[in-house]
């Protein structure tokens, strides 16, 4: 008659799997395992886990390092830039594919892109608005174009259906309209707008979202992206 219950035997199975049991205890446990398929199965299930332990280093059991917060934004910005350049190439290819009367128009399209890519001296800028209300995200990618500036807006966290008006502030402080869009929850949060103002001359990007106004100063360097936010009554 076995004086110990299976439950009691099982509590030794960990030490057994790790080879920690004294001979006497090990022998009596093995005798129990011989006659108990359930405990035997449990012992067999712990074996593989025990055999993995040597592969781990207890120095690395502490909290795992977290990725820096800007990594996600950097990835999104890189993808966005790549997506846009792909689209441009596609448009160029389409241009080549045209024939006859459309060729002149295609050439004109081509000229615009050649011009715009020739202006790569002032590269695109990524703008992220800071000091936003909790949960609200607004970011933009600005790209110099022959006609002015192409603006890709990303908005999230505001009420669905909110009308957003976008302006670029010129050197004299005058706002040049870049158009409007509506934020739709769940839709593609990116809107493509354009303003007839050279990116190099723009001083700020202004977004009126509903009744709130957000201003991101623009400048030559990344350091100029210090953000400010102001409330406007209308």
């Amino acid at each position: 008659m076995d004086p110990k219950s299976c439950r009691e035997w099982r509590e030794s199975l960990g030490a057994y799997a790790l080879g920690h049991l004294a001979d006497e205890e090990r022998v009596s446990l093995e005798a129990h395992l011989d006659g108990c398929p359930a405990c035997r199965a449990e012992a067999a299930a712990l074996g593989p886990v025990a055999s993995l332990l040597p592969h781990a280093d207890p120095e690395h059991f502490g909290p795992a390092p977290l990725p820096p917060p800007e990594l996600g934004r950097r990835i999104t910005a890189t993808i966005e830039a790549e997506r846009r350049s792909k689209r441009q190439h596609r448009r160029l290819r389409l241009g080549f594919g045209l024939s006859g009367a459309a060729a002149a128009a295609a050439a004109a399209v081509l000229a615009i892109f050649v011009l715009s890519s020739g202006e790569s001296g002032s590269p695109e800028q990524h703008v992220s608005f800071r000091s936003l209300p909790s949960g609200v995200k607004i970011a933009a990618a600005l790209e110099p174009q022959a006609f002015g500036t192409e603006i890709h807006m990303y908005v999230s966290g505001i009420r669905s259906g909110t009308l957003c008006r976008v302006y670029m502030r010129g050197p004299s402080g005058r706002d040049v309209s870049a158009g409007t869009f509506r934020y739709r929850w769940g839709g593609d949060a990116s809107a493509i707008l354009s303003a007839a103002l050279d990116l190099s001359r723009a001083k700020a990007l202004v977004v009126h979202a509903g009744r709130r106004t957000f201003v991101a100063p623009l400048g030559a360097g990344e350091t100029a992206l210090e953000q400010s936010q102001q409330e406007e009554p209308t």
Binding site: R10, E11, S12, L13, G14, A15, A17, L18, H20, A45, L46, P48, V49, A50, L52, L53, H55, A56, D57, P58, H60, F61, G62, P63, A64, P65, L66, P67, P68, L71, G72, R74, I75, T76, T78, I79, E80, E82, R83, D188, A189, S190
Partner: protein, 169 residues
């Protein structure tokens, strides 16, 4: 376009929110260099996005797919690193073996992080530090039998967590 494909920026943002911490944690463990690990994670998400249409959730989870991409990225980075003259002196071809070993180590370490503190503690003391159960029991102020049963429940918990993480032995 297959449904569930990782083709929109929003998909990438969601994938990032769900898996970046784990991918980064492993990349740091594997490359032992936080800067390089960042590079690896960025490259992983870029490759995932570029090949987004090929992702099919019917075949495997997004996590598995991302780890498979990271594997290639880390191997490429390791290759680039060892092709620098100073490191290539040994002339050893970088292989996937160190990567797979690092992945195994990281999986077990991640599982260790996820089990209870009490369980991890007794496994560290008795197994990794090789201390007698009686000594550990005294230090923790519990009976020796409790240390023993915690070793058992600790191993069981570890097995469950590893299974949840998709580890197959």
């Amino acid at each position: 376009m297959a449904s569930g494909a990782l083709t929109r920026e929003r998909d990438v943002r969601e994938a990032y929110a769900a898996h970046a911490a784990e991918l980064y944690g492993f990349a740091v463990r594997s490359l032992a260099d936080p800067g390089l690990a960042e590079e690896a994670v960025q490259e992983t998400f870029l490759r995932a996005w570029r090949a987004g249409e090929r992702f099919d959730p019917q075949i495997g989870s997004l996590r598995t797919w991302l780890f498979a991409i990271l594997r290639n990225v880390v191997i490429d980075l390791g290759r680039a690193r060892s092709s620098r003259p100073s490191v290539a002196e040994g002339g050893i071809e970088p292989s996937v073996e160190p990567y797979d070993e690092a992945l195994l180590s990281w999986q077990i370490e991640e599982a260790m992080r996820r089990i209870g503190d009490d369980h991890r503690r007794v496994l560290v003391e008795t197994y990794y530090r090789g201390r007698p159960y009686a000594e550990v029991a005294e230090e923790l102020g519990v009976p020796e039998g409790t240390v023993k049963s915690r070793v058992y429940y600790g191993l069981r918990a570890l097995r469950v967590v590893l299974e949840e993480m998709g580890y197959e032995d």
